[in-house]
Symmetry: C2
Subunit: 370 residues, 2 copies
Amino acid sequence: MSPWSAASPGLRVAEIDTPALVLDLDAFERNLRTMSAAVVGSGMRLRPHAKSHKTPEIARRQIAAGAVGICCQKVSEAAVFVDAGINDVLVTNQIVGARKLERLAELARRARMGVLVDEPEQVRALAAALDRAGARMDVYIEVNVGGRCGVPVGDALRALAKTIAGAPALNFAGLQVYHGPAQHMRDPGERAAAIGHATDQARAARALLDSLGLPCPLITGAGTGTFRHERDSGVWDELQPGSYIFMDRDYADNRSAEGDIHFEHALFVLTTVMSRTHPARAVVDAGLKASSVDSGMPAVWQRPGLNYLKASDEHGVIAIDPSAELALGDKLLLVPGHCDPTVNLYDELVVVRGGVVEVIWPIRARGATL
Amino acid sequence: MSPWSAASPGLRVAEIDTPALVLDLDAFERNLRTMSAAVVGSGMRLRPHAKSHKTPEIARRQIAAGAVGICCQKVSEAAVFVDAGINDVLVTNQIVGARKLERLAELARRARMGVLVDEPEQVRALAAALDRAGARMDVYIEVNVGGRCGVPVGDALRALAKTIAGAPALNFAGLQVYHGPAQHMRDPGERAAAIGHATDQARAARALLDSLGLPCPLITGAGTGTFRHERDSGVWDELQPGSYIFMDRDYADNRSAEGDIHFEHALFVLTTVMSRTHPARAVVDAGLKASSVDSGMPAVWQRPGLNYLKASDEHGVIAIDPSAELALGDKLLLVPGHCDPTVNLYDELVVVRGGVVEVIWPIRARGATL
C-alpha cells in the first residue's frame, strides 16, 4: 500500500493527494436516513450489505441507524467486521472448503453468524465443522431467482430443508431470495416484473416448507435497485441493500418510476490533470486501478463538457468540449462506474464535510477475498 | 485485508485457500531468462516495469537477471521499491502537484530517480521541488506516439528541452517513447507498423535535439507486446516490458509472427466451485474482485470444455460443455484477462514450484496509487 495517506483532517478537498476515494459525509448521512425511513420505518428488518463499503466505521453507523446487523460475502470479510465488534453477520454466500468452514465456525463462537446453502453436501460439511468447534449458526437456503446460485422451488429445496433439520448445530433461519440482475435493469417496469416473479417463487418456497412442517422463520434479500418492491411484496422480512450509501454511475443510469426512493452520489474519486498537451483531451491520474471499469467508465461530476473517455492502468482520458476548460493540475471528482470494486481498490476513505477533510476511515476489509 | 493468508509453505496447490493469486515459479524463472537473453544478451538495457508486479521480491530477481533498475508509474509505488532497497527507479509518468513533487524529490536524495515531463510547467515545478530538497534527478521528455501523454516532435519538444537545460537540478536523461495501444494489437503486422511509425518519431526527436546542441543520452520505452521491434530498431537504448514475467489472457490473444519471443503463463487465480445446482453451469468464488475484467474474462487453464462466462463482484460463472465434468469443491486455475490490475487486488503472491507452495511474497506496492 501507499507509505503515506492521501489526506489528513483539516485539509481542503483541493489539497487531497490523488487519486483518492472521497466520501461526502453529508450526502452519506442523508442516504443512511433515507434508507432507515424507507425500510426500518416500515417495520422491515434492514441488514445492509457490507461488501459495498468494507469499512467498520460505516457498519457501525448503519447499525446505529436501525440495521439489525450486516451482510458479508466472504468469511475473511466477515472476520474483519467481527474483529471490529459487529456481532451479527450473515454471509450471503455458499462457503465450500475445510479451512473456510473451520474459520466460519470459529466466528460463530464469537458472533451471531449466518450462511447460505444450496446443496446437502454443504450442509453436512458445515454441520461437521460446527460440531468440531462446539458452535451453532443460522443457515438460510438460497432460492435461485437471479440465475446464479440457489435451488429451484421443488425437490432440491425439500431435500435441503430436511438435511438442515437433521443437524443440531444448524438453526434453520429462513430463505435467501435475491435477484442480482434485476438491480441493474434500466427499465423500472422490468425491475418490477423481475421482483414480481421472485415474489411468486419466495411465496411458493415458504408454502413448500410449511407443507413439510418446517416453517420458514424469515425471507431475506433485495438490493438498492429493487428493494422497494421486496419491501412492499408482503413476502420479504429483511432487506440487504448495499450501494445506497454511496450510489454509483451504474445505479444512477437506472430510469426511475413513481415510488422509487432516491439516493445521492456520496462516493467520488478525486483525480488531477497530469498531462494537457492535446487541444481536446486531457489525461488524469485515475485509471482502472483507481476506479473499476467493469460497469463502464466513471462520470465527471458537475463539470459540463468534460467526459471520461477511457481508462488504462494509471491514466484516464478526459474529452473536453470546446465550451469547457481544463488546465494542468486541475482536480476533478469522478462518480465511479461501480462502487463495490472501486472501494476494494483503496485502503482508506477520505471523509469530507463542507469541502474539508473531517476524518480518514480505514477500509479494513479491502482485499478480504478469502 | 484478509486476517489470514491463503497458504503457507509446504501446502499443495489443492490445499491453498481461494481465491488466491498463484505464481508458477518455474514458468516465471523461464520468462525471466527468456527476456534477459533477448534483451540484455543483445546489448540493450532492460528496465522492467514494476507496475505489473508491485513486488520487491520480483524486482530483485529482475535486477539479478541483468535489469539496470525498474520502472514505476506512481511516486508512492516508487517509494515502496526504494524502501525495499531498489536504488534506480524511473517513474514513467508526469507527476503533478506540490505534495507529490516533494515526495519525489525526497526519493531522489535516496536513490537514482527519473521522471517524465511533457509541459514546461512540470519542469519548473519539479526543479523548484528538487532545489528545496537539495536533490537532483533524471528527466525524460515523453514523445507522444501512442495518443496519450507526451509532445509531438516540434516546437513543444524544443521548448521543453531548453527549459530542462536551464534547470541545474535536472539531468536531461533522454526520451520516453512508448506506444501503449500497439502492445495489444492482435495482428503482428499492425504491431510492427505502429512501432515503425514510433521509430520514425524517435529518430526525428533525437535529430531535433542534436540540432539544438542538446544531445539525447538515451531513448527508453517498449512493452511486452512489441519490444522485439524496439530492440531491433537501432533507435531505442532501453526497454521497459512488464507483463512478460506473468503473461495474461489478453497478451496471449495477440497473434504471433516469426521472430516474436514467447513467454509462458506464470500467474493464475486459484478458485473453488462453490455452487453446482445447474446442469450446464457452475459458480466459482473468484469474481471481479479476484480477477480484473477490464480486458475481458479470465481463461480456464488446461480444463477443456470449461469456460469462464461472466463475473460479478464475488462470483464467476463457468459454462460446462456436456463433455466436461466439474464438481462442488473442485479447484480451477484461471489465467487473468489482464495481469496488472489483477495483481493490484491481492496482498500476497502464493509462489508455487512443482505443485507445492514454496514461499509467500507480499505485494507491497498493491494499492500504491498516489
